[in-house]
């Protein structure tokens, strides 16, 4: 049992009475490491921004991080007006949103049923989902295409959405599984005693408790779906339903590569996901803050 204490404890990194100098040094090292890693991670975005504002010659000639003589915003204009980028952008957005919502929902339902409910065959079902994670994507292209053909779903966004849900559920379930196992059960047990139905337990209790991991899996799914390419390319033929990644590929040609345009497209394609990510990230923090007031 935990005892509450009125003593104000010193902040991390320790309660010990070790030498301050050593502790400070530890701090410095720690922060340096973190900053170094952060730099390694953020340089690409900077580079992307830079070369989206250059033309081909500048990209090949100049040093990667050199600033362009004049920022070529026309790359962005060109990309947005030519080649339907706004349409692809819109498609990417709604397809991603729908896919992510349903993937996380289904995965949560399944994980809940497997970890909390008792029924025969739940190990089998779990096993089935895990095996589903192991198929290499390219093996599925031809069979899936034939299947969608028979269902008259080729060239229809539903083929892409359903595929995303099916293929991302296993990994989502796996991540959720780890968290669900570690969740304390007292709250649910109390709810059952109070006479709650399974549905209420799931929607009102468990789901909110898993807010942080839901946000996490939502981000992960969002990233996969937003950047996904091969399914869209295979199942969708008309421009009307193409997504941003496919649109970007159209700029990469057989004999020429318009670097500035690619850069601009990639920047445009990253922005929404960056924003969504930042928003959801804050959700994680909230969820954590709410969830940690227990025990």
């Amino acid at each position: 049992m935990k005892t509450d204490t009125a003593v104000r404890l010193p902040a991390y990194p320790g309660t010990g009475t070790g030498p301050t100098v050593l502790r400070r040094l530890g701090y410095v090292l720690l922060y340096s490491l973190l900053i170094l890693v952060a730099l390694l991670q953020i340089l690409p975005l900077i580079w992307l921004l830079l070369f989206s504002l250059k033309n081909n010659q500048e990209v090949f000639d100049m040093a990667p991080f050199a600033l362009p003589a004049t920022p070529r915003w026309e790359n962005y204009v060109k990309v947005w007006t030519e080649g339907n980028i706004s349409l692809y952008f819109f498609n990417s957005v709604w397809i991603t949103v729908v896919s992510v919502v349903f993937t996380v929902l289904f995965a949560s339902l399944v994980t809940f049923a497997i970890t909390r409910m008792r029924w025969k065959g739940r190990s089998l079902v779990l096993g089935l989902f895990m095996v589903g994670m192991m198929i290499p994507v390219h093996s599925t292209l031809i069979p899936l295409f034939s299947l969608f053909l028979k269902l008259h779903l080729t060239d229809h966004p539903l083929s892409v959405i359903l595929s995303y849900i099916a293929f991302n559920m296993p990994i989502t379930i796996m991540i959720l599984l780890g968290f669900y196992y570690a969740l304390p059960r007292e709250v649910e047990e109390a709810a059952v005693m109070d006479g709650c139905s399974v549905h209420r337990i799931f929607f009102r209790i468990v789901l909110p408790m898993t807010a942080s991991v839901i946000a996490t899996t939502a981000i992960i799914n969002m990233i996969y779906d937003w950047n996904e390419f091969i399914f869209v390319n295979t199942f969708i033929s008309t421009d009307a339903y193409k997504t941003l990644t496919v649109g970007v590929q159209n700029f990469i040609g057989q004999y020429t590569t318009d670097w500035g345009a690619i850069g601009a497209t990639l920047m445009i394609s990253i922005l929404p996901i960056l924003i969504a990510f930042l928003v959801l990230s804050n959700r994680i923090v909230e969820g954590i803050a709410a969830g940690s007031v227990k025990g």
Partner: protein, 439 residues
């Protein structure tokens, strides 16, 4: 999080999904009709090609003009395009053919690429078109590359030969002349390396670029030995073919190519030439727009570029007018197309109109004859077109000649050869094994 926001979000998404799918559904159904003739004589044609507006702007523009014109002339016909870039196009074509869902009209490559599709009865024979208004218009040898067992299955719309482009300024700086013999060429290479200049730009990650070098060496040394070995009437252990491989490695040892060539894509290799770090670049005539009309390339660079023919070898079996090159892509009509007649008419129209304007508007040399006197062209084009007319023979690219699996072996071997991971003897041995397998 409270329950309400979740519920609302879910409901909203559900509605959105249903709504959008519903909309698209009716839309998709309409398009799901794909091609076919309606009861009122309306015809929809599906055309899939590989000239996206972003990277092949000029070709794309030309294609759209031709389509627009055709639709105006034939108001009952609607042409639906699907545009993909090269590699994705090949993938999609493969997948579509597995389900027998090819577009009515599409783009294909010759010889070895075409064969499986013909064998699978997926392409319709187009010989009728050859005896129509297109009779005699094709340059000799171009349609043959698209023929299997005497029937032609696609009509070529590109023709390319491969000169060695060179930077006249760099040559002049070291008092070099375009070489006519291979010994002179080696001298050029040595002079350049002695002076710290990269002699040849090469991006061999894509492998076919190195193949061009090998093919020319094989040609200059052994004439049609390579072709014979590929089609089975000869063998790969022909001394000329082995020596050609050895010559490649000799060039590698001389540091003739830019650093890291085996890991650089063609574009990256090319940029060494475009940035004037390398003096020479062996590539097809599809590059010409970069040296003539492309507005993104500085004019002063363009003025420096000339070309010379691959030099001859002492005691070799070929003359300087023998080129590596051949027809590029061609148009096919799907065998199971529901609008075959209309598709064939469109192909015929396309080939004609394309041939008339492709050089001036897209910088692409068509497979149909071009009258250089009539059309006003940049000098490099006129020169190369004249060369084409005087060509003694055209050898099609090896990876197109060969059947698909053998072609992959060839390409992998080229990379190994250039990387000195394989001896010339092993190189030809692997080729022979691949050819013997017959696929």
């Amino acid at each position: 999080m409270r329950k309400k926001p979740i519920a609302m979000l879910l409901t909203l998404t559900l509605i959105l999904a249903v709504f959008l799918s519903g909309c698209s559904n009716s839309g998709a159904d309409g398009e799901g009709e794909a091609s076919g003739s309606g009861s009122d004589g309306k015809v929809t044609l599906k055309f899939m090609h590989l000239w996206p507006a972003g990277s092949s702007a000029q070709q794309n523009k030309l294609v759209n003009e031709i389509i627009k014109q055709y639709q105006t002339d034939h108001p009952n016909v609607t042409i639906k395009q699907e545009v993909l870039e090269n590699e994705q196009y090949k993938n999609k074509l493969k997948i579509l053919s597995a389900s027998n869902e090819l577009p009515d009209v599409g783009v294909t490559w010759a010889a070895g690429f075409l064969e499986p599709y013909v064998k699978g009865n997926l392409f319709a024979p187009l010989d009728d078109l050859l005896s129509g208004s297109l009779e005699g218009k094709f340059i000799a040898g171009t349609t043959e590359a698209y023929a299997v067992e005497g029937k032609t299955y696609a009509l070529p719309i590109e023709l390319n030969i491969s000169p060695i482009y060179y930077n006249k300024d760099i040559f002049a700086k070291y008092n070099l002349q375009p070489p006519a013999t291979y010994d002179e060429f080696l001298n050029v290479v040595k002079t350049l390396t002695d002076n710290g200049v990269v002699p040849i730009a090469l991006g061999n990650k894509d492998r076919w670029t190195g193949s061009l070098w090998y093919m020319y060496l094989a040609n200059r040394l052994g004439g049609d030995a390579l072709e014979k070995a590929i089609n089975g009437t000869g063998k790969f252990d022909d001394p000329a073919l082995i020596q050609a491989a050895a010559e490649v490695q000799k060039l590698v040892d001389m540091n003739a190519f830019n650093k890291g060539y085996n890991g650089l894509s063609n574009d990256e290799g090319k940029s060494e030439f475009m940035n004037e770090k390398a003096a020479m670049y062996l590539m097809g005539t599809w590059e010409l727009p970069n040296y003539t009309t492309n507005p993104d390339v500085p004019q002063e660079f363009k003025d420096k570029i000339g070309f010379f023919k691959f030099p001859t070898m002492d005691g070799g079996k070929s003359d300087i007018n023998s080129w590596v090159g051949g027809p590029g892509v061609g148009l096919f009509v799907a065998q199971n197309s529901k609008v075959k007649d209309e598709a064939q008419k469109f192909v015929q129209y396309f080939v004609e109109k394309w041939g008339e304007s492709s050089v001036t508007e897209a910088g692409v040399i068509p497979a149909t004859k071009v009258d250089t006197a009539e059309v006003k062209l940049p000098q490099l084009y006129t020169d190369l077109l004249n060369e084409l007319n005087q060509a003694s023979s055209l050898t099609l690219f090896a990876d197109v000649q060969m059947k698909p699996t053998a072609a992959q072996v060839h390409l992998d071997m080229i990379q190994a050869l250039f990387g000195k991971a394989v001896t010339p003897e092993k190189f030809v041995k692997n080729h022979q094994e691949a050819i013997d397998k017959g696929n």
